[in-house]
């Protein structure tokens, strides 16, 4: 007979936690399934919104950045695709971060009434954003067909960068959502950060525009390396290896910090939420 013994003691860091994450693995996608289903209930257009939203944003961005900014266009590359290739990871990161940051508070009823490893909650909101990303990616492919632009073999490396973006969003998200339980300020700080991030990340412009002396500070933004990577895969834009390395480092730093802080404060979520 299998003994499932659990000891509950103050401060005990359960080895069971990681086993529980596996036991509750279905919750990862069931919670995102729930969020996606609920999103379009009682709407008329329904799932079409997942396509219209990124499409509209791209159109607006293309107009704004090409007419007004004229930032770093390259010959042979349709500007729309240049912008979109940068916007795609950014939208994913921004959405994932916003959703993850509020996920614990938004699921307060679950946190206070039922047990499962709480990390599942922000993780599933990142997965929901991944679904949106998938749809936008199809849109990108559509645009390539439209502009008759054929990306080269490097595009197969794209999943690596997607994974990186996912990790970055998860790392920061875990950290922020744990903080948010106790200090509700972060609910207001996040949209602000996302706004600023949009302008200091190479979404509307290409990294080559940034002058050499600012390059280091600029690269501290983890999304810089990731967006550059996306552009490299899709368009062949040259990448700065060192900047990329810094991005990866910062991403993993955030993940470690996020997981550490989350686990540390997890036990008191139910008391504070």
């Amino acid at each position: 007979m299998q003994t499932n013994r659990i000891i509950i003691e103050p401060g005990r860091n359960e080895k069971n936690y990681w086993r529980d994450l596996w036991l509750f693995r279905e919750l990862f996608y069931i919670l995102s399934w729930r969020d996606i289903k609920v999103r379009y209930k009682q709407t008329v257009i329904g799932a079409a919104w997942s396509v219209i939203r990124p499409l509209l944003t791209t159109i607006i961005f293309t107009i704004v950045f090409s007419r007004l900014a004229k930032l770093g266009a390259r010959p042979g590359v349709p500007y729309a695709i240049l912008v979109f290739a940068g916007m795609l990871p950014w939208q994913f990161f921004a959405n994932a971060l916003s959703e993850a940051s509020n996920s614990l508070i938004g699921n307060a009823n679950l946190v206070s009434k039922v047990y499962f490893p709480r990390m599942i909650i922000p993780a599933s909101s990142v997965i929901t954003s991944l679904v949106d990303f998938g749809i936008s990616f199809l849109l990108l492919l559509g645009m390539c067909v439209f502009y008759q632009y054929v990306p080269d073999i490097k595009i197969l490396l794209l999943p690596v960068f997607v994974l990186l973006a996912l990790t970055a969003a998860l790392g920061v998200g875990l950290f922020i959502t744990a903080l948010n339980v106790k200090y509700r300020d972060f609910r207001y700080i996040i949209p602000f950060i996302v706004q600023i991030g949009l302008y200091i990340s190479p979404v509307g412009f290409s990294s080559s525009v940034v002058p050499e002396k600012w390059r280091l500070w600029y690269s501290l933004n983890p999304m810089v390396g990731i967006i550059d990577g996306f552009r490299w895969c899709i368009l062949g834009e040259p990448m700065h290896g060192s900047a990329f390395m810094i991005s990866i480092l910062i991403t993993f730093l955030f993940v470690a910090l996020g997981i550490y802080y989350f686990r540390k404060t997890e036990k008191s979520f139910a008391d504070n939420i």
Binding site: M1, N4, R5, I7, I8, P10, I30, Y115, K267
Partner: protein, 414 residues
């Protein structure tokens, strides 16, 4: 004689709670539970500059919701947990369910735990009944495959076949509760913890749930922990009861004994005390109280216990011949029966026969009656008391009105 040593009895204890304590900190300032980062930073900065100033920090008060709780539960037990509101029952369940952490102490649990602390945890109002079955089941720990297999059973238990595709926000509260319990009832945990969820729902539903919990424990060997204020339900389902009082275990014993202990403690003596105006009467009722056969104040009785009343009569004129007429009233103030004494004295007591009144709330009216003349003094509808049914033949009929007394007669079949 052959003795077979059964090793399964060695690890018979599935839950062992030792020295469990839980502390909450209450702060006495306008500070809210969710702090603003700005406040924290401002305060810290102020403290930096104010070395000698008494920090205007809020005074912390410690509130111990649980203090040194200890008990053990064996496999297949059905344990009840009772106590006044605020005694710590829900906190105890939350800790057992790993939702919150203890401050001190140790708990050892063997087996998968499923907790029903609230009806419809995780239900989303926009999703349909069947979607919520999957959602709720997953949240409670069932795998998709498991839910698929049990889907029809769950729907049948909940009796919501027709409404499976309607969003749950359109359900009546009864349907909602039935569906929520139906999912939880089909979990197969080794240990099931249920917290007062049965308070919602009609008698038929409660009966169904209690039946299922009993079934799960008797026939499948699972352990059930059940918190409720409904002493009838507790006494019919459980074998042992933990009584919590102000965070500590005040009793841990067989159900009947624990309930008696709880009731004795929980007294509401609604004794009657005469007002001064009556002094002019030749004879009047000064004091009436309800108690048990040992003259201790008691207001909640098992149906097998004797209810007693004590009367203090002030006799100013010894010559008057009267008797005491006592009427037992039901909750609707109808007279159930009456008793009459032949004489009167300064202190009188009557002990009612046990196993006569059915479960419910009662009170009494008392008269001093002068034969052929009429009542001299009267006290109406005092001393409310309660009869609790912990296992009579009628218990299974729940709320149904089967009268006020247990009938006596002989069945003859041919």
């Amino acid at each position: 004689m052959l003795t077979i040593f059964d090793s399964s009895h060695m690890s018979d204890t599935v839950i062992k709670v030792e020295g469990l304590s839980k502390r909450f900190i209450i702060s006495h300032e306008k500070r809210e539970r969710y702090t603003s980062l700005g406040d924290v930073l401002t305060r810290r900065v102020k403290e930096l500059f104010n070395n000698n100033a008494s920090t205007q920090r809020e005074t912390h008060e410690e509130f111990w919701a649980l203090k040194d709780v200890e008990f053990e539960v064996k496999r297949g037990d059905r344990l009840g947990i009772i106590g006044r509101n605020g005694a710590g029952k829900s906190t105890l369940l939350k800790i057992l369910s790993r939702i919150t952490e203890p401050t001190k102490g140790r708990i050892s649990i063997e087996g998968r735990v499923a907790s029903l602390l609230e009806v419809g945890t995780g239900f989303h109002p926009e999703l349909t009944g069947s979607e919520n079955i999957f959602l709720n089941g997953a949240v409670l720990g069932m795998s998709r495959a498991e839910i698929k297999i049990k889907f029809d059973e769950i729907v049948a238990f909940a009796e919501v076949e027709r409404f499976l595709d309607t969003p749950v926000k359109r359900y009546s509260s009864g349907m909602y509760v039935r569906l929520a319990f139906a999912v939880a009832a089909h979990l197969e945990p080794e240990i099931l913890i249920v917290d007062e969820v049965l308070a919602v729902g009609d008698a038929q539903f409660q009966k169904k749930c209690l039946g299922k919990m009993e079934d799960v424990s008797k026939n499948e060997g699972r352990t059930v922990l059940f918190v409720s204020h409904d002493l009838n339900a507790i006494s019919s389902l459980t074998k042992k009861v933990v009584v919590l009082k102000n965070g500590s275990v005040s009793m841990f014993d067989e159900t009947i004994k624990s309930i008696a202990h709880y009731q004795a403690d929980f007294r509401k003596p609604e004794a009657f005390i005469a007002l001064a105006e009556k002094l002019s009467k030749p004879i009047y009722i000064k004091n009436v109280r309800v108690c048990n056969a040992d003259e201790q104040d008691q207001t909640s009785f098992l149906y097998t216990e004797s209810v007693a009343f004590e009367f203090i009569i002030e006799i100013n004129d010894e010559r008057i011949k009267c008797d005491l007429f006592v009427m037992v009233l039901d909750a609707k103030k109808r007279t159930v029966f009456a008793l009459e004494s032949n004489q009167i004295s300064k202190k009188m007591k009557i002990i009612l026969d046990p196993s006569y009144l059915v479960r419910g709330n009662y009170s009494i009216s008392v008269l001093i009656n002068q034969p052929k003349i009429g009542p001299v003094d009267e006290v109406e509808d005092v001393c409310s008391f309660e009869i609790i049914d912990n296992g009579s033949q009628m218990l299974k009929h729940g709320d149904y009105d089967y009268g006020s007394v247990f009938g006596k007669g002989k069945w003859m079949l041919s």
